[in-house]
């Protein structure tokens, strides 16, 4: 059938309508050229062709289309580019956060261009320069020994150096706090995005059900996914979801993007959004059962089978080996938990690594998400069927439903099917017994969403960048963390690394100078001296001795120079003799110098407490208020000097000094000339010469030239870190090394950021080339639709003119 007489009007009308809609779409594209996330839209139109068969087919009957039909509007978007963009976006977020943190650390520790140029210091270094100034002050003291003003100058410079340590440590702590706040803000943003995307999914779903493609909502969702991808690495997939018989709508699923290099770990693929269900992120980690080790179950079973353990023992042990978590009870005890939902979640101070958890997925109403899994059907023999199976004789099927399997809340449905076996001709036999059937079984699981505890390396993006800034301690990382969580943690440096490196420098600096400034006086031959009298009754220096086999032997500061018998007696006198062996002393880190020191102080080693007692020089009182005499009363030698640096300005405690607490000791603050210039007395005296300065020379050597091993385990709380030195060199070199590490980290991260950013920009440009609006394109569309509109109008006029001729002028004669 051809087109009807007035059908041509419809053609024109549809053409006008299509052109007008096209103009509207073009207008909308032009209007939104600056709208963030806007994807250009395209009018999808088709030629209207009424498909049907005439009852009587006539040859020559030409079928013409009936015009243009506007079918839909669509977006032009490349999912592949979206995936690439979001992957690199997480890298940009990670490196950007990291570089920003490193820049903040550099603002504190990087001393390039810092300093007072007016004092001829060249504007190059502050704390680093203080080390040089300290050494210079000591050098001056070597020349001008005994003059109090030089001692005061040294103390003032040391005080300045300490103030720098304190300031830098405080500022680093401040950066850490700010980064923690930023990281928490990252988590809040991520949660907002997850909720918002879930809401958008719902709206899009509704719109789709009503036939609206909801393009603007999709744009918004894409924009939010882009933003989310910078904070955390995500993998976005689209699938069809059947909502009613035969009706499908699109479902968006977002998971973590498999960031963990350990391929056996799957928590890095955890579900974040599944259609209208979404999870939330939070800081926390389940309390783990240290005995959890399912691999040992087989061996345990073997023990049971061999009769080595009872069933009850097996059960108890089995539970221990298979329960991954612990639950804290109200009475403070813990009990085993195999389900993460029953585990106690550790937060705040109990979660120092700021580990993350993903919650259960819920929809807007709070319903839990239930995921399904189905497994391939498998054959089985009649003997393997469960007992008491109840067959449906019509369908030859049996269904077994198990609640709370594999985990509480889950359901496992097993469908058994049977078919009669075939005879030789391929015809089913008439079954009379179970073995006359072939059986299959298929398992379906309905899994209720559960929280997921994320591993250290499960995420990427800005959140992880900030997390690593807060937690990564480089060489100070606990070896258990390296072994169990992140093999590469020893090479990752965040704020804690720089804090601890600074602590280690301050600690070693204080310990070395404190040790150098305390000791017992010796004569020029190195024999320790004590006060005695000569025949004239004058006070003189006499050697400290020890009686060995009835002979008084001198005690010398050079342990190796003394005979084995003297060394042995010194050990006996200090509680380090038999049964303790040399190996025991070595294991305890006790050196000859320590033994000499203890002998001179009159101390004895307490093998239980593993320390020399009495510890303090001054008399103290114990916890019960009983007086505890100090070694000051019992000392065999003449002790001189004292602690220069302490962990608090109000005390003289040199233990556990860090960059934050290092202080001029109370003793030094109150004592002039505490700096020991010399430990060597003039022959037969108890006093060094007034200008003797070998101790100052030694101290300056320690400051300027001595290369130390900076070992992370020296710091309190880091005993389980690597025992290898993180640096070997002088104090200044260590400080310079911290700057170098920081500089290298910055350079590397900056290069990475540049690379990722350019790649992101390139991909974004590619996306724009597909999805964004272009004036030339739209101008072409304008022209095209305008011309189409004109042509359609012309068509209308022509048809009108033709029909006018046909209707009004055909057959009429004038």
């Amino acid at each position: 059938m051809g087109i009807g007489t007035f059908g041509s009007f419809t053609q024109a009308r549809l053409a006008i309508y299509a052109a007008q809609t096209g103009l509207s779409v073009t207008g909308n594209n032009i209007s939104n050229i600056n709208t963030p996330g806007y994807t250009r839209q395209r009018l999808d139109q088709v030629s209207l062709y009424v498909n049907g068969s005439d009852r009587y087919y006539a040859e020559g009957d030409i079928r013409v289309g009936q015009g243009a039909l506007v079918k839909s509007l669509s977006q032009i978007r490349s999912p592949y580019l979206d995936i690439r963009y979001r992957t690199v976006s997480a890298d940009v977020g990670y490196t950007d956060a990291r570089l920003s943190g490193l820049d903040q650390i550099a603002d504190i520790l990087d001393e390039v261009g810092k300093g007072d140029e007016s004092k001829g210091e060249g504007g190059f270094g502050i704390l680093g320069l203080d080390f040089g100034k300290l050494a210079a002050a000591l050098r001056d003291m070597e020349d001008q020994t005994g003059h109090q003003e030089y001692d005061k100058t040294f103390r003032q410079i040391a005080s300045n150096l300490i103030a720098r340590f304190n300031t830098y440590a405080n500022k680093l702590e401040e950066v850490k706090k700010n980064t923690i706040a930023e990281m928490k803000s990252n988590v809040r943003d991520i949660n907002n995005y997850l909720t918002s995307i879930r809401t958008l999914n719902e709206e899009i779903r509704k719109s789709e059900i009503h036939g609206d493609p909801a393009l603007e909502l999709r744009d918004e969702r894409n924009r939010q996914l882009d933003a989310l991808s910078q904070l955390i690495d995500i993998n976005v997939t689209y699938s069809e979801e059947e909502i009613a018989g035969g009706m499908f709508v699109e479902k968006l699923t977002v998971t973590l993007d498999n960031a963990n290099p350990d391929k056996t770990v799957h928590t890095d693929e955890a579900l974040l959004i599944d259609g209208v269900f979404s999870a939330q992120l939070s800081f926390g980690t389940p309390m783990l059962n240290p005995d959890y080790d399912p691999e040992k179950v087989d061996a345990l079973k073997q023990e049971l089978d061999n009769g080595n353990i009872t069933q009850a023992e097996y059960d108890a042990q089995y539970e221990k080996l298979t329960s991954q978590y612990l639950k804290k009870n109200e009475d403070g005890t813990t009990s085993l938990a195999s389900d993460i939902r029953d585990a106690t979640i550790l937060t705040d101070g109990e979660n120092p690594l700021y580990k993350l958890m993903i919650s259960e997925l819920t929809n807007k109403r709070g319903d839990l998400h239930i995921g399904g899994s189905s497994y391939a059907a498998e054959s089985l023999l009649a003997k393997d069927l469960p007992a008491g199976i109840n067959w449906n004789l019509k369908t030859n099927t049996a269904t077994v439903e198990e609640k709370d399997v594999p985990a509480p809340g889950d359901t496992t449905i097993t469908i058994y099917r049977r078919q009669p076996k075939l005879d030789a001709n391929g015809n089913p036999i008439k079954p009379t017994k179970d073995d006359d059937y072939t059986y299959t079984k298929q398992v379906y699981e309905r899994i209720v969403t559960k929280p997921v505890a994320l591993d250290d390396n499960d995420i990427n993006g800005e959140l992880q960048g900030n997390r690593e800034l807060i937690t990564e301690a480089g060489e100070f990382t606990d070896l258990d963390v390296i072994a169990g969580m992140d093999e590469g943690a020893g090479g990752k440096r965040g704020i804690p690394y720089y804090q601890r490196a600074l602590d280690l420098l301050a600690n070693q600096f204080a310990n070395v100078l404190n040790e150098a400034n305390q000791g017992f006086l010796t004569d020029p031959s190195g024999n320790y001296v004590t006060a005695g009298k000569n025949d004239a009754g004058e006070e003189i220096g006499v050697p400290v001795t020890i009686t060995v086999n009835g002979v008084e032997e001198k005690v010398n500061k050079d342990w190796d120079s003394m005979s084995a018998a003297v060394q042995e007696e010194l050990k006996n006198k200090t509680g380090l003799g038999a049964p303790l062996t040399d190996q025991d002393l070595k294991d305890a880190g006790i050196t000859g110098k320590d033994i000499l020191n203890a002998y001179l102080k009159g101390q004895e080693y307490d093998t239980t407490e593993k320390k020399f007692i009495p510890e303090n020089r001054e008399d103290t009182t114990d916890a019960a208020g009983n007086p505890v005499p100090g070694w000051g009363q019992k000392a065999r030698g003449i002790f001189t000097g004292g602690v220069l640096f302490s962990n608090n300005p109000g005390n003289n405690d040199p233990s556990d000094i860090t960059a934050a607490n290092i202080s001029i000791s109370n003793l030094w603050e109150k004592t002039n000339n505490l700096l020991v210039a010399s430990f060597t007395c003039v022959e037969n005296t108890t006093k060094p010469a007034s200008g003797a300065s070998e101790s100052i020379t030694h101290m300056r050597y320690l400051l300027e030239h001595q290369e130390f091993e900076f070992v992370p385990t020296t710091l309190k709380g880091y005993e389980n870190a690597s025992g290898e030195p993180m640096f070997e060199g002088t104090f200044f070199q260590m400080w310079n090394g911290i700057g170098t590490d920081l500089g290298e980290d910055q350079t590397q991260t900056s290069t990475d950021l540049q690379t990722y950013y350019e790649r992101a920009l390139s991909i974004d440009t590619d996306r724009d080339s597909v999805s964004s609006v272009d004036f030339n394109d739209e101008a072409m569309n304008l022209m095209m639709y305008a011309k189409s509109y004109n042509a359609a109008c012309r068509l209308m006029t022509t048809i009108d003119s033709v029909l006018d001729k046909l209707i009004n002028n055909t057959g009429l004669t004038t």
């Binding site: 050229i33 550099a106 990087d110 001393e111 390039v112 261009g113 060249g122 190059f124 680093g128 080390f131 040089g132 100034k133 210079a136 050098r139 001056d140 070597e142 020349d143 001008q144 020994t145 005994g146 020029p524 009298k533 025949d535 004239a536 009754g537 003039v682 022959e683 060094p688 010469a689 007034s690 200008g691 003797a692 070998e694 020379t697 030694h698 300056r700 050597y701 030239h705 200044f732 310079n736 700057g739 170098t740 920081l742 500089g743 350079t747 920009l761 974004d764 440009t765 590619d766 724009d768 080339s769 964004s772 272009d774 004036f775 394109d777 739209e778 101008a779 304008l782 022209m783 305008a786």
Partner: protein, 489 residues
Amino acid sequence: MIPRMTTVGTLKNYRYSLNRSNNTMTKSMNTVLTRRLFNSYGEDPALATRCFQIRHSYWRANSQLNVNESLRHKYDVAWEATSSMSTDLYALADDTAYGNVLRSLNQPTGPGRTALGQSLEAKAKDLAQIMNSRYGENYVFAGADTLNAPFTWERLKNPDYIDPEIAQEKLADPNLSADERKKYSGAFQYMTAANTLTNNPAEAATTPKVNDKADWTKPNEAGNEYFLDKNGNPVTLPADALQVPVENPDYDQEKNAAFKYLKADGTGTNDKNEAKVGLCYRGVPVDSNAPADVEKMEYFLNGESKYIDVGLGHKEDKGEAVSSTVFDSALQGTYYTGGYGTKNGVEVEIEDPETGRTEKMTVDNIPKNVISVVYEMGQILQRCDKDSGAWASKEDQFRFKALVDEYEDGCAAFRERWTEMDTQTGFLRDNSELLTDTSYSLQQQYMELEDVDPAAAISDLMFARYCYDAALKVGNSVLSQSLMDYINF
């Protein structure tokens, strides 16, 4: 497929490029403003690290130079002092020690020797004063005892003095050896009636004073009575005799261990004001041969050091400085003044100008220290007869001759050591130049590493500015033309 360059894409790219262009310009501007090739470790970690190290070395070199200069000044003072001393010791002027010594040898008449003696004693004190020179607040020739004057004139203690309490304590020890027992017993002059030891004559047992001038071979002659009375007259009966304390047989009159001090004539006294005055170096009598004093002097001279880092590559071995890597700035006064202790058994020959006969004598305790020598010469000359100028004793005459010989030896040694000091001063001068050069060189090195080439930096800035301006101009036309502008319906 040819990429579709869209308006939005073009804008994004332009924005990014413009930002980079601006960044480059800002960096170039900072380089010009700071005149430094890098402004953070992050810009060039390796270079920044090197520059910090070189600057640290530069600081150290400057500090070493400062100390070296201070040492140079100390040696200048030492040089001045020794110059002045050299004039005194061997210049042929009237007011020098040498002049006085020569004149005293020329058989002066009348009160000449006494006057010369006074002059020499004063000169000895001058010499000691010269050796007490200070640089700043530090005594130059005091070794490591820089805060105390090294040479002092002090009342000399008896080196053999034994404190009675110490002696009693020692004697109470039953295991004391016989020699030790004799030594400590020798701390007491007298024996009591109970056979104990004491230094108090009132506690001592008494015995009639024996006539020690009597000729026992002629007991019956007058004047050879066995005892002496309180007036010193010989008496026969013990009852008429003067009762004197019983002496301790272990007491050694030469050592005089019961007395804290010794008088000029060698007798003991406990009154400090009566004690002999002598030269002391850092509290130790310069002319003492007592083992404890010699040990100290030996330590001062050979064991003591005061090390200063003047850039010789300070190294340590077992916690102690390796001496070749540091400069020992301890100048020991005794080293420059002929040492310490005395010489014994010095053979002296004197020819009598009238008879032409040569007389020989062996003298002991000739001081080695030239100041002590001059002092003692002064003392001997002052003992000469004030009218005739004759020597107070033959011993004085021989002793004076021995002192003159020792004086000449001391002067020769001084000259040698003065030359040595010249070498040390020269070393410090050369080292100062070396450190100055090092300092300049290090400064040059870090400047070369850090500082920008101004021409290059300004050119870079101009180019960056040019690029940025061009980028701005491009921006103006990025969106100026499109098909939209040509549509005409």
